[in-house]
């Protein structure tokens, strides 16, 4: 008994180490072969491009652990940012708009959750429909006009110091990347939610066997709705960091982003069939994709190589996972 337990532990550790190891190896690889890759400014660029995908990925990690999917995260995020920007541009205080952004995306998440848990729509279909609807709705509200958030030099630009980057400081000449703090805080929140709360426990339980949870007297409809709502909330956080980082929001965009977030979750080892997954895996998955993106650019390979290699990494990550589990089973 003792030996079996030990072996299992080694196996788990190995599993946990693989994604971080891949991240480190990639980083070293690009540091050697990329142009000027090993530098503070590249590191900041990597973080910058991780933020908004990262928040969406945190949110959808809950959903995927329940065995569901949310295709609407990208367009939900963009729509909230669009409407927020629209309201801001019609003269409302920027902080009110940021709160509004979160409110909108949370409501969309809640609608998704209700369609799925209460009206029993399959998640793929409900969120596919919602993806199209949010994309269209953002355009309708803004009359297909690009929305601009205040930039750092504008009077209202102060919010960027919190969500993206502080003004220039003696230590950080181009400003301290405060976005990493913002993301760090909500990573811890997500981690805590998933591992230490009833919400998190029910998330895993529903993913493992929903009917058994229902027959245990748990209000599955409520908790499942909440899972999608939390996912929507994280889309709102993502929308804020997106607005801070990129300032300009274009109507009709956002679809396709969900696939990046899902790819990060998958690379992080969360299973699409539910019940299994970690938040730290997702974080690493998101960073891995950013390192890949910035690294390939530093090697002079254009955007499409990044698309290609991300696809390859997704497939390899899961193949490795399958192979590893098989191997581990054989050893036992």
């Amino acid at each position: 008994m003792q030996t079996i337990k030990q072996k299992e532990k080694v196996h788990v550790d190995f599993q946990k180490m693989l994604a971080p190891a891949a991240l480190v190896i990639l980083y070293i690889f690009f540091s050697i072969f990329g142009k000027n890759f090993f530098s503070g400014s590249t590191l900041v660029s990597i973080m910058d491009s991780t933020y908004y995908v990262g928040f969406m990925a945190f949110g959808i990690t809950f959903v995927i652990i329940t065995g569901g999917i949310d295709l609407s995260i990208g367009t939900n995020m963009m729509m909230s940012a669009l409407i927020g920007g629209y309201v801001y541009n019609s003269g409302v205080n920027i902080w009110v708009c940021l709160v509004l952004i979160i409110a909108i995306s949370t409501v969309v998440g809640c609608i998704n959750g209700s369609l799925i848990s209460r009206l029993k729509l399959p998640p793929f279909i409900a969120t596919l429909g919602m993806m199209m609807m949010t994309q269209g709705f953002g355009s309708i509200i803004t009359k297909v006009q690009t929305q601009r958030f205040p930039s750092a030099f504008d009077a209202d630009g102060g919010y960027k110091a919190i969500f993206y980057k502080t003004p220039s400081t003696p230590l950080f000449k181009t400003g301290f990347p405060s976005g990493i703090v913002y993301m760090g805080i909500f990573f811890v929140v997500a981690l805590f939610l998933l591992n230490n709360t009833r919400f998190g426990r029910y998330t895993y339980a529903i993913g493992s066997n929903e009917e058994s949870v229902r027959l245990s007297g748990v209000n599955v409809i409520k908790w499942k709705t909440l899972v999608y709502t939390v996912c929507g909330f994280f889309c709102g956080l993502s929308a804020i960091v997106y607005a801070s980082t990129y300032t300009t929001i274009i109507p009709g965009t956002g679809n396709g982003l969900e696939m990046n977030a899902i790819a990060a979750v998958i690379i992080g080892g969360t299973s699409m069939s539910g019940g299994v997954g970690t938040m730290s895996g997702t974080l690493i998955g998101a960073f891995l994709m950013s390192v890949l993106k910035n690294g390939l650019m530093s090697m002079g390979l254009q955007g499409h190589y990044q698309t290609f290699f991300t696809g390859l990494v997704v497939i390899l990550a899961v193949l490795l996972d399958i192979y590893r589990n098989k191997k581990a089973a054989e050893v036992k």
């Binding site: 930039s151 181009t174 300032t247 274009i250 109507p251």
Partner: protein, 356 residues
């Protein structure tokens, strides 16, 4: 300066101002060129011009751009990655100025000169842009309106039109978000309003361009399709072509003209003898093979071309000037635009501008 006189790359007059021998500082320097796109022929010619300039002026460049013209985040990330590589200068055609303001500021702080090209970086913060090589899109688009108004068939229909029985003009615009497309659409519309008289023109369709007139003889409908995908552009064009009393249709960039071409059997339907739309006048912007053929055959009345080669060439040349610490008097260098029709294409000077 007329754009046609500099069409042949080696004879580029501006390059005299940056000869390699007195520009040692720039020798072998690395310049990052970030465009708004990559896939259209237009950008390929821009790239060709930039590469030729790099060769002539002995610098190295990378040429990159986001997959579509709404991928702002991707362009910003590209710009950041380019800055991280420590280039001597950056050439940038911004999808949206606001989104890159901070990066421009960083460039300024780091001392990396930025040169705008194509639509440039309009409204950039003071002093962050060294110079811009671009087409005056607003003026270029008004060329199309002038040509349409000068057309005899159109004039006859315009004169015959009444507020009760107005004539219609369709405008297909790829999107309503990028500066250059807004200019090319509004340049056309505004010129039309000036020519036809303010009281005679009403604009409908898209909210950005809406204009009411109580007794309009001309109704301009602007259509912005759901996405920039070819299929949606075609559907948008078809919607315009089915408007009652439509006399003319204008596509405000290569993709817009492409939508009209796809909806008209590659332009054949505008065939003046037996085409389905033989009574309609089609106008385009930019070039490309199909559009060129349509103009050559007289199916399209004509089109406006920019000089993408010069845009690319001059952008890099300006960047080299910037590295060498030269000062420029004129911050905006117009690379020119020309109206072309079947007749004009016979002139090699113009034909060269119209890429395939």
């Amino acid at each position: 300066p007329t754009p046609s006189d500099g069409a042949a790359p080696p004879a580029e007059p501006k390059s005299e101002s940056a000869p390699a021998e007195n520009g040692n500082a720039a020798d072998g320097a690395y310049i990052a060129v970030i465009s708004k796109g990559f896939q259209h022929q237009f950008w390929q010619v821009v790239k060709k011009g930039a590469e030729q300039a790099a060769k002539d002026l002995n610098v190295t460049i990378t040429f990159d751009g986001p997959p579509t013209e709404s991928d702002i985040a991707i362009q910003v990330d590209m710009l950041k990655a380019a800055m991280d590589k420590g280039p001597a200068a950056i050439c940038l055609a911004a999808l949206d100025t606001e989104s890159v303001k901070e990066q421009l500021n960083d460039c300024k702080n780091k001392g990396i000169p930025v040169v705008g090209f194509d639509s440039g970086v309009p409204n950039a913060p003071e002093g962050s842009i060294y110079a811009t090589a671009s087409t005056d899109n607003y003026a270029a688009a008004s060329l199309a309106a002038e040509q349409l108004f000068a057309n005899a068939d159109f004039k006859a229909k315009f004169d015959a039109a009444t507020p009760e029985k107005p004539i219609a003009i369709g405008v297909l615009s790829q999107d309503a978000t990028s500066e250059s497309l807004i200019k090319r659409t509004s340049g056309f519309i505004d010129k039309m309003i000036v020519l036809a008289g303010e009281e005679n023109v009403k604009v409908v369709g898209h909210d950005s361009y809406k204009k009411d007139a109580a007794k309009a003889k001309v109704v301009i409908t602007v259509n912005v399709p759901a996405t920039t995908a070819a299929a949606d552009m075609k559907t948008g064009a078809e919607a315009l072509l089915s408007i009652e009393n439509l006399v003319a249709v204008y596509g405000s960039n290569e993709n817009g003209a492409g939508g009209i071409l796809a909806a008209s059997n590659d332009g054949n339907d505008f065939n003046k003898e037996n085409g389905k739309y033989k009574d309609m006048i089609a106008l385009g912007f930019d070039a490309g093979k199909t559009q060129r053929v349509a103009v050559e055959n007289g199916w399209f009345l004509g089109s406006v071309t920019q000089d993408p080669y010069q845009i690319g060439y001059k952008a890099v040349a300006l960047a080299v000037d910037a590295i060498n610490g030269k000062s420029v008097e004129n911050k905006i260098i117009d690379t020119g635009a020309k109206w072309y029709n079947a007749e004009a294409l016979k002139d090699p000077a113009i034909s060269e501008l119209v890429y395939e």
